[in-house]
Subunit: 273 residues, 2 copies
DNA sequence: TTACGGCCTCCAGTAACGGGAGAGTCAAGC
DNA sequence: GCTTGACTCTCCCGTTACTGGAGGCCGTAA
């Protein structure tokens, strides 16, 4: 017979825990002194304590442990319980692994954003460039420009695995619209994947007039004016849809500082054939 | 301005949660009606709610989130916090993965035990067989036979990855001893691994008189008597150490029913050269 | 007798909420 | 102006598996 302190050392369970298990009926001491209330444990208690400890290691709840102790005398009897717990634990492992991946994604985006900022530190000028064709997944909608963000997060959830570059948006109107704007948020993909609900296709290459817009989205209008002015001056004919590539926008967690946003405006121009 | 119910739908946080965050000072409504106590939320609140939700997904505690909201305006600012959290989450993922592996081990042992029982259903007889050499990790001690279990769990913890068969024990005394018995619990290994504290070596093969003992360990004596009797009858000379292989003993969780234990007694005999 | 350590019970606190009681508030319909 | 029903308020309890602490009893040794 052990006193509770001795039994605590023998079993590896704290005195508090032993009292708690007693209260819960999980591990009832072999004897209790009626007068003093002292608990006394025996060898059978020790064995049971070992089983409880083993099951706690597998993170069974005390309730489940009580059930297992009720049902089982043998590892074999506990197989079902173990199988179930295995599934749960595997789920948790996967869950945490996914979270780690998500954090890695966030940090990857940060690195890219930093590089873009450094790389484009002084570019302010309009340029002409051929934009290469790319595979994209898009969802064309009619609505207000603010809805864009929601569509992006929806897209990211479904094709997140295959994204290969910065988000972009196609604008089919050729002018600014408060409501009923016709546009298509897109993600470039590494390879073509069939995702129902979204339009996955190759976005053709195009010669474009390009301007890197710095600052919040509500000043995009001024930059568009500069681009259109330039195109007109050069006598170019504009082809729809125009494109915006969001090189640095709101972060995945914080909105960030809109003054630091970088958006590339790409206006395709008709080529003489 | 949203009422708490509207804001709950907009933010995806429950009304209860919003009240709780208010109490904790994490997300204070833009205005509260002094008279009625009604909470009213605005767009900035909505943005903050989004950040909190994003951080909760990464399982930051509310306390940490408060600190992050204090410190950061931008994903970049949060990089350190994310890095730290990443480590924690990775640790948890590994933890659960390890538990799954441990459960798999338990169930693997169960399967083996079941097969052994089925396979040896009717073997009761003494036989002679050559036991193949094998790589083992052992720890030779002097003490009482009951200490065996502790040594096995110690061994299992250190070389668990490389175990390739049933635990066995070498007995150097050639007779039963209450105290100061000289014996060596061993695990067979797939390959030789250096583990300090333990003796890893190749246990030589040996021609043995073998008997499968059924039942609890305290009746092993009778089986030994049979084996020695047989050896004497045949005129064999016994070589130490003798071996016991624990084909089915206590489970990894439960002690199980000792009447079902299976132990192979192997007594090496000298070969004429 | 006193001291000291061990043991007892009871209460409170943990993290992040959810449930529910009982009461006050708001907007709409009559 | 009144009622109704939906909404909101505060306050308290419960969750899990314990840990910490207060205040007091018990047992043994000096």
């Amino acid at each position: 017979m052990f006193s509770i302190g001795e039994f605590s050392k023998a079993s590896g369970l704290s005195v508090k825990t032993l009292r708690f298990y007693h209260e819960r009926g999980l591990l009832v001491p072999a004897a209790t002194d009626e007068r003093s209330g002292y608990r006394y444990y025996d060898g059978r208690n020790l064995e049971k304590a070992g089983v409880i400890r083993a099951l706690r290691k597998f993170e069974f709840s005390l309730e489940e442990i009580a059930a297992i102790l009720e049902d089982c005398d043998d590892d074999q009897d506990a197989a079902e319980y173990l199988q179930r717990q295995r599934k749960i634990l595997e789920g948790k492992s996967r869950h945490y692994r996914d979270l780690v991946q998500r954090i890695d994604q966030v940090m990857q985006l940060q690195r890219e954003a930093r590089e873009i900022v450094v790389f484009n530190r002084e570019s302010q000028e309009i340029e002409e460039r051929f934009v290469q064709p790319q595979i994209v997944a898009g969802l064309r909608i009619k609505g207000r420009y603010q809805d864009c963000g929601k569509v992006f997060s929806k897209l990211a959830k479904r094709v997140g695995r295959h994204i290969s570059g910065k988000p972009l948006c196609l604008y089919y109107d050729g002018e600014y619209r408060e409501e009923d704007a016709d546009f298509e948020p897109c993600f470039p993909l590494r390879k073509s994947v069939a995702v129902n609900e979204f339009d996955v296709r190759t976005l053709p290459g195009a010669a474009c007039v390009i301007l890197l817009h710095r600052g919040p989205y509500d000043t995009l209008g001024e930059s568009y004016a500069r681009v259109f002015e330039y195109a007109k001056h050069k006598g170019y004919e504009i082809e729809l849809p125009t494109r915006e590539v969001y090189l640095k926008g709101p972060g995945m967690i914080f909105r960030g500082n809109p003054k630091k946003y970088l958006t590339e405006i790409q206006v395709p121009i008709r080529q003489e054939t």
